[in-house]
Amino acid sequence: MPNQFSMTTRRTFLRASGVGLALPLLDSFLPRRMRAAETTIPRRMVCICTSLGLHAPFFFPEKAGTDYEPTPYLKLLEQHRKEFTLFNGISNPDQSGSDGHSSGMTWLTAAKHPGLPGFRNTVSIDQLIASRIGLETRFPSLQLSTDGSSQSYTSSGIMIPGEQSPSRMFAKLFLDGSADEQELQIQKLREGRSIMDTVMGEAEQFGRRIGREDKEKLAEYFSSVREMEQRLVASEAWIHKPKPRVDAAPPQDIKESNDLIGQIQLLFELIPLALQTDSTRLITVMIQGRNDVPPVPGVSIDHHNLSHHGQDPEKLRQLQLVEQAQIKALEKLLSDMKRKTEGDRRMLDSTAMLFGSNLGNANSHDTKNLPVLLAGGRFRHGQHVMLDREKNTPLSNLFVQIAQQMRQPVEQFGTSTSTSVNGLATV
């Protein structure tokens, strides 16, 4: 269905991606739902950011093209070699910010100079797409996280908190509450709507302001209330529909808060389940290992410290162990995504899976030459795309290309300079 969006004009797109005024975020889902009768396999995106980077020499191969020699990390992914592409020389431009890790806020938004005076974050690519897909799925998007933060930012630049608890996320996705709980839920939704009605009237009284920026601030408030109302209405529609059943036991949350890898594994297991049931089509995962020692055999130093290895061979050895454990979790996720099928296709084929980091070199907090791997999503894979390591390609170009491959009429996003990345072809 290449023309699925022919009804959607460029103007409505611009409105949705706009500065945060007018924001008709969710009303775009109605006409699409009528079209949903056409049988189609939905297109999805999963973005995984490991915020302390990946040690580049263990990640990037030397040779460009298809016959590269696998590095220690790529050896772990060897069986999927034909299913992913590595990008070398890609990054968000102008990421020097208030501290060495502030680019964690902008991996999916590409806003410049995070945290410096005048900085305002912008919408993340997943949220831009979510605002278009709307509540066609039970959840427009999901945010999974090892620490409660996420890479998803609303159109007003606010971070959507990430869910840390796999069991809570599982319940949210697949468990219908008891009759009492559902009753309470319905009651709460109804109350929520009355509250929004009331404050809307209240805000109109409060809202007689002169200044342009004051008006903008209040417009932000109004559109938040309206969006909240729409979400409450939509949630009410969903609450009467039973949640999908899945063939998996509810996960037990990890007890040790330092068990980064265990946490990642559990979160990753939710991804194929959520996608398979079409509970959502957009997932972001934030892997934030800061100051804990992860219980990986052979590791005795905390992850953040390891990333500042200062070329200490012992730290590099331990860093490799932590990062390999993450890559192994990714390997399993890719296998799961290949195993699950819909029609005659593997789920991986309809899902663009982006894995990478906002740091190219965590030792020096360098934000250039990010490690970026893209799997699935109907692209021609199997190669190491060597771009200019001095003048990097904007990561936003890749976002636009992925969005278009999801049939979204996105022409420009963030700092994009093109609608595709040189060397990445679609299927």
Partner: protein, 833 residues
């Protein structure tokens, strides 16, 4: 050149035209650059800042004169500042007059532009409460103290502070979370269960089951599973249990489980034994079987029992733990795990005689706050059995005689408190109707009230500070003051003064500033202003490398943070000169930091009747590198990454935070690759950087302050040599009585340098003296930071004159920190929107 480009002029005039048509703004500002500006740029700047070279990323050929666009305006302000300070054009021989042919028309145009807008709209944009203020407001309204802020999305920081409107965005996510946490606060407020039992007992570790087992097992007993010999981790005395294990001890105090979440009074009697005349520390933790929360720590002296008393909030699933610091290692470096028997073993230990716990400390039951929120006489005891919920056995309910009248009354009162000003007639009607509608649906009084309260607390009058352009009214002033100094809503006294119209009179205002700063609630100001201004809130962003810094622990961490807060507090309370931020003849220290700084002797001389963990001013030896904020451990820690230091980061930090001349963001070139193998130093690496003319242009400003701080390591210790995990010599000093094997001493430190204008310094002491030559700049910088924090808006180009006035008035009165705060509050910036 774009500013001469005809296309640009057309575009620009259309833009201006539309502005003029769209608003009543008097647009008399300069619509195009004057000839002076053009010819100055042509003659002096275009050689480097042209379209092909774009030196420093600036292309003056393409830079438009669009002063309405904030980004564009900022570029011009930067150009003004660079030329005004003489940094640009580089190495020029231009006279002051020639420089002013550019700066003065640019300044005039920009100030006009901003002032016109400020007059019309105010300089502060309507701002919502940040999450800290939101939490405190809920605490105040409901009389609860649960953690709320960490359940809310993190606030954006703009201009370095979380009080600035620009960073405080609103979204549906935000509203959703507000509704959730308000419910939690209401749950915590509505304690309708039976009055909790009060625990009140004296406990002894003698009676602790695991301690008993450890003591009662023979030392030669061999565990059949592990095959290892039993170790006694305690020693039993008649009056006390002595902790003698350096590492693990079964030290959970299981005899006390809090009967309810609440405030508890804890008293302990303890002392140290065989501690070589040195004090040891007793740490008191609350533990929920998952993680430890350090409540307090106390320093114990040898053989002198000390009774300590404190109150702390404990939750139902927590229990207490006591752990010693500086115990369990003997003179030969042996611990309990490598001695034959502990019987006659002489080792530093912590003796605990007894522990008394009393609580929860309650006044009235059900808590008074319920009546404050839900109306007087709304609480009624349930007849008969009550009911069970996950909160416990419910014994009370909210059931006023006339629910509608009661709810109207309670909502009026609550809304007025929540909105921080009296209501106009009918202003609460919407909320009252909402509650009445719920009652009409047959819902209970509690349910109806909860809906109304939630709606009050997500409405803009609560979430947003209500300020209108021009001088703000007394109620808005009351809120500005209280959210500035307390991060909380105004109290009754402030609101009464506002009601009487007295608050804005200068004497009253000054008196209130004193009252607020003298109240314990002003700790909120100290911790959040200092925490953000000096980045102290980032103290846990990195954990120091345990191999390079084995002496770092949570006590040192807490002491670091406390030092900087206490220091600021001391300047504030005694109104000491702001120059003390740069250099001072005293430091605020506790014993742990004094040891860390090598100032134990000075500390002991000033001991008096204070305990070692209490902070006090210590006179510094004349040759001490300490004094001022830059050499405080917390600052030195947050400007390092846990492994290595970088003069670039620390230098940029000083320019931004202390001097107030922020460097441009770094260009997209690769940074220096940190290396701890001992073969190369950061200065050697940087030298290469500075050889390049492009890099050096900025780095000659940035690096020197950082060089001066090179003699401080990542945890703020003074160093003469780098620590290394590779090459180097064995350290000779000891750590808690044992020798150090974790790291070696590598290459020597060089903390000399010269300022960008060529003044040399040998070390940090000399560097501080150079900085003291420009105290006015330091006052100006701090005035800007305080004003930004207090008013919720950054310092614009047009505000600079006002900041100058504040700084000058402060200086004329002796440059005291408190004087500066008086002047900020008295200024037009604080008193207008």
């Amino acid at each position: 050149m774009a500013i001469l480009n005809p296309n640009f002029l057309i575009r620009n005039s259309c833009f201006v035209l539309s502005i003029v048509m769209a608003s009543t703004l008097e647009a008399q500002s300069i619509e195009e650059p004057t000839d002076n500006i053009r010819s100055f740029i042509n003659q002096n700047c275009l050689e480097c800042h042209n379209a092909s070279e774009r030196s420093g990323g600036l292309d003056l050929e393409a830079l438009a004169w669009e002063l309405d666009s904030p980004n564009n305006r900022d570029r011009w302000i930067r150009i003004h500042d660079r030329v005004d300070s003489g940094q640009m054009p580089p190495d020029s021989t231009l006279t002051r007059d020639q420089l002013e042919s550019l700066t003065s028309p640019v300044q005039k145009a920009i100030v006009e532009k901003i002032s016109a807008q400020q007059k019309h709209e105010g300089r502060t944009v309507l701002r919502r409460l940040n999450r800290r203020e939101f939490e405190n407001s809920l605490h105040d309204l409901f009389g609860v103290d649960i953690d709320i802020q960490h359940l809310l999305p993190e606030d954006g920081r703009s201009e370095g502070f979380d009080t600035v409107a620009d960073g405080l965005r609103i979204s549906a996510v935000q509203l959703e979370k507000y509704l959730e946490v308000i419910d939690l606060a209401l749950d915590d407020c509505l304690r309708l269960t039976e009055r909790p039992e009060i625990f009140n007992k004296r406990l002894r570790y003698h009676d602790e089951k695991e301690v008993r087992e450890n003591l009662d097992t023979a030392e030669d007993h061999v565990d059949p599973v592990s095959g290892s010999r039993h170790r006694r981790l305690f020693r039993e005395l008649d009056n006390a249990i002595v902790f003698i294990s350096h590492g693990y001890s079964p030290d959970n105090l299981r005899q006390f489980a809090p009967p309810a979440t609440g405030l508890y009074r804890i008293r302990v009697s303890a002392y140290s034994v065989d501690s070589r005349g040195e004090p040891i520390a007793m740490r008191v933790y609350a533990n929920d079987w998952k993680s430890n929360r350090l409540l307090r720590y106390f320093v114990l002296e040898e053989d002198k029992p000390r009774i300590v008393e404190f109150t702390s909030k404990l939750t139902v699933n927590e229990h207490l733990r006591f752990a010693g610091f500086g115990i369990g290692i003997d003179d030969e470096g042996k611990s309990v795990w490598n001695v034959e028997s502990v019987k006659d073993w002489k080792v530093p230990g912590m003796a605990i005689e007894w522990i008394e716990v009393e609580g929860p400390l309650l006044d009235q039951w059900p808590p008074e706050n319920i009546s404050r929120v839900f109306g007087a006489n709304s609480v009624r005891k349930l007849n008969g059995r009550g009911r069970w919920t996950n909160q416990g056995h419910i014994q009370y309910e909210l059931a006023p005689d006339d629910p509608k009248a009661a709810s109207s009354n309670a909502i009026e009162k609550f809304a007025s408190r929540a909105f921080r000003r009296p209501l106009k007639p009918g202003e609460a009607d919407r909320f009252i109707q909402l509650a009445h509608a719920e009652l009409d649906r047959g819902r209970s009084y509690e349910q109806a009230m909860r809906v109304a309260i939630r709606s009050i607390l997500v409405s803009p009058r609560f979430l947003i500070l209500d300020e209108t352009p021009g001088r703000i009214d007394d109620y808005a002033l009351a809120s500005r003051l209280s959210y500035c100094f307390w991060s909380s809503p105004p109290d009754d006294e402030l609101l009464e003064l506002a009601e009487q119209g007295k608050l804005s009179s200068p004497d009253v205002l000054r008196g209130q500033v004193d009252r607020m700063l003298n109240s314990p609630k002003s700790e909120q100001f100290v911790s959040s202003f200092v925490g953000q201004w000096l980045d102290i809130n980032q103290i846990d962003a990195t954990t120091p490398d345990t191999k390079l810094y084995p002496e770092y622990d949570d006590i040192l961490r807490d002491s670091m943070v406390s030092e900087t807060r206490n220091y600021f507090r001391e300047l504030l309370d005694k109104n000491l000169p702001i120059a003390n931020l740069i250099a001072s003849d005293f430091a605020m220290l506790d014993r742990r930091l004094a040891d860390h700084y090598g100032l134990t002797e000075s500390f002991l001389e000033s001991k008096g009747d204070k305990h070692d963990e209490e902070f006090r001013p210590i006179s510094l030896p004349t040759d001490s590198p300490r004094g001022g904020v830059m050499t405080q451990a917390a600052v030195l820690k947050v400007t390092a990454n846990g492994t290595v230091t970088s003069p670039v980061i620390r230098g940029a930090w000083i320019l931004r935070r202390i001097i107030g001349t922020p460097p441009s963001p770094p260009p997209p070139v690769n940074g220096i690759e940190p290396d701890t193998r001992g073969a190369t130093t950061i200065r050697e690496q940087l030298a290469k950087h500075r050889d390049s003319e492009t890099c050096n242009r900025c780095h000659r400003e940035i690096d020197p302050p950082g060089f001066a701080l090179e003699s401080f390591d990542v945890i703020g210790g003074f160093r003469q040599r780098y620590r290394s995990v590779g090459d180097g010599d064995q350290p000779t000093e000891k750590l808690q009585g044992r020798s150090i094997w974790e790291y070696k001493l590598g290459k020597p430190i060089d903390s000399s340098g010269q300022t960008s204008d060529g003044r040399p310094f040998a070390d940090i002491r000399e560097f501080k003296q150079l900085m003291l030559n420009d105290q006015e700049q330091i006052i100006r910088c701090l005035a800007g930071k305080l004003t930004t924090y207090a008013t919720g808006a950054g310092i614009s180009f047009a505000d600079r004159d006002e900041i100058e006035i504040i700084a000058a008035k402060t200086k004329a009165q002796g440059s005291g920190l408190r004087t500066l705060i008086y002047e900020v509050v008295a200024s037009e910036l604080f008193r207008t929107k």
